[in-house]
């Protein structure tokens, strides 16, 4: 099928601006691919063909008039369904929000559109971004374009699968404990979890507000950099957005790794680590050394506590954030006022019927941890350990510019393979600390397993230093990249 779909977003925008290809042609190309391939993949929850074509015509008309629609002129993107989009149904892949149409665009989406990007549709994910395999979507599962028996990762599984299969040029995901980087690794693409506060959370359906970040997912580091510089920056509508200048991230990509000090944390290479994941990470480290980086052993001693810390704090925040789904203001209502149910029964019935099993589990864990009498033992304790995890990184970054680690403990696993909740939680074991410490993390492909599945590494940087992580990721892209397309996306 059409090669133009596989061009980078940056290259597509160049071709649209020089009228070598029209925005309409680009949108049609992706709509055709979605129609042909997404039945097997399940990446999209909604495709807005009419809206995308209308927007493409507006971009083409602006260019014909001699105007510049922006650095993403005509580039077809798609959006994780936890980000609100004006006039486009947004459900967070939950029954409780079925049919909900938001009245506004979130800031990141609005900034993409203002730069000329065209929103093709909304992407599948785990319900309310809670999961590591996309199997918690209340709508349908999503599959990995490298092997349809396997998961794309989660929670931004649709965002990763759609980019990997060239069903859009690039996408947005959200990352609370690895939900951008983990699926990016399992689908063989680039995913950026920005520094906490780097990208406005306005319009992101809240999961765990002290951890959530929106970030780009793309087939090249350059595209991820281009999208990040478009969506990043302070926003008066998000009081936690950081008021710091946003660099032109693309400028740093050609600098190579020479002179960088890169730390290898021994806690991320346990004896039990999957042999192929270890080998891929070691190849990536060797490639960076070859490129002139200085490789340094570092220790992040509280790494093993990241999982219990995260799975207390994130559910605690979620139990509070999800209190708003009560049958009054959004979507689903079960019982009253037409029925006989009391207000309390209406809340309980709506939430009992509307939330899936994993969301209920996390609300329950969070409610338990915040309950009077348990607060100090669980929530406060976890916040203190979080401070120690952050301190580990502060100490490491006194000696190194970046930390490199495997993104996931294994390549993509099979649908249905992880049935116990704690086994699924362990799929995030390498990605959680980055969120707890508020750091930027860039996941980048580092080769294929013997079974032909992508393996990724992540580069974690100092707060607000996405540029250095992207620069090292670009060096890896040139040396240990995958070099081929997924078999289920011709």
């Amino acid at each position: 099928m059409s090669e133009v779909a596989w061009l980078s977003a940056a290259e597509q925008a160049r071709k649209v601006r020089t009228r070598e290809v029209s925005a309409r042609e680009l949108v049609h190309t992706y709509l055709d691919r979605i129609a042909a391939l997404d039945g097997a993949l399940g990446a999209y929850l909604l495709v807005d063909a009419e809206g995308a074509l209308a927007r493409a015509d507006a971009v083409d008309a602006a260019i014909a008039r001699g105007e510049d629609p922006g650095p993403l002129a005509g580039v077809p993107v798609a959006i994780k369904d936890v980000l609100v989009t004006e006039g486009m149904t947004t459900t967070a892949a939950s029954r409780i929000l079925a049919g909900w149409v938001p009245p506004y665009d979130g800031t990141a989406v609005a900034r993409l559109r203002a730069a000329g990007a065209i929103v093709l549709g909304k992407l599948n994910c785990d319900e309310f971004a809670m999961g590591s395999s996309n199997e918690n979507s209340a709508v349908k599962p999503c599959r990995n374009p490298w092997d349809l028996e396997r998961v794309p990762g989660g929670s931004s599984g649709g965002s990763a699968a759609a980019v990997a299969a060239a069903l859009c040029a690039a996408s947005l995901g959200t990352d609370t404990g690895g939900s951008i980087r983990q699926p990016a690794a399992l689908c063989g693409i680039v995913g950026v979890k920005p520094t906490y506060g780097r990208v406005s959370r306005w319009g992101a359906i809240a999961f765990a507000s002290s951890l959530d970040q929106i970030g780009p997912m793309a087939r090249t580091v350059e595209d991820a950099a281009l999208l990040l510089e478009t969506i990043a920056g302070v926003d008066p509508r998000d009081a936690t957005s950081v008021d710091a200048p946003v660099p032109r991230y693309r400028d740093a990509l050609g600098l190579g790794a020479a002179g960088l000090r890169i730390g290898v944390p021994r806690e991320y290479f346990p004896d039990a680590l999957d042999a192929e994941v270890r080998a891929a990470a070691e190849r990536a480290i060797a490639a960076l050394r070859e490129a002139g980086a200085r490789i340094v052993d570092v220790s992040l001693p509280h790494t093993r506590y990241a999982l219990p810390t995260y799975y207390l704090l994130a559910p605690a925040e979620a139990s509070s954030n999800l209190a708003r789904y009560d049958g009054v203001r959004y979507g689903l209502r079960e019982g009253g006022p037409a029925g006989k149910a009391s207000l309390l029964d209406m809340y309980r019935q709506t939430r009992g019927a509307g939330f899936g099993a994993e969301v209920k589990r996390r609300i329950m864990i969070g409610t338990y941890a915040l309950r009077a009498g348990y607060y100090d033992a669980y929530y406060k304790k976890a916040q203190q350990v979080r401070a120690l995890i952050k301190r580990d990184f502060d100490e490491a970054f006194a000696a190194v510019d970046l930390v490199i680690a495997p993104t996931t403990p294994t390549p993509a696993f099979k649908l249905g393979e992880k049935s116990a909740p704690i086994d699924m939680y362990l799929a995030d074991v390498f990605t959680l600390s980055c969120n707890l410490a508020g750091l930027p993390g860039v996941a980048v492909p580092a080769g294929l397993s013997s079974a032909g599945l992508p393996i990724g590494v992540q580069l974690l940087g100092r707060p607000l230093d996405e540029a250095t992580a992207l620069r090292a990721a670009a060096a890896l892209e040139r040396t240990v990249g995958l070099g081929r397309r997924p078999p289920h996306a011709p």
Partner: protein, 101 residues
């Protein structure tokens, strides 16, 4: 941490405003007990003198000028609810009037 009882699960579900079936309560009891057992590892960390971390980046409470900004029209803001009427979200009665049973 001892395993949770059914009564504890039911109480937490009540606090969380979640209606759970009997089967869900039992499954939740088993799963939450297993998950919380993993959390006990935190008890071994010495956190004496460590301030709880509430934010990933240092930040001050930012104030904006108190000026009116454009906002959504009422009917647009209400449109996403299951039962918007008369400029408000309709809910079941919470106060009974004297004439009602």
């Amino acid at each position: 941490m001892a395993a949770l009882t059914r009564e504890e699960v039911e109480e937490i579900a009540y606090l969380a405003r979640l209606a759970l079936s009997a089967a869900e309560v039992e499954r939740m009891r088993e799963e939450l007990s297993a998950i919380l057992a993993h959390m006990d590892a935190l008890a071994e960390v010495d956190t004496s003198g460590v301030a709880p971390m509430t934010h990933a980046v240092p930040m001050d409470l930012r104030l904006r000028p108190d000026e009116p900004q454009p906002s959504l029209p009422t009917e647009v803001a209400l449109a996403g609810g299951p039962d918007p009427r008369d400029g408000s979200f309709q809910v079941p009665h919470i106060i009974k009037t004297a004439s009602e049973p």
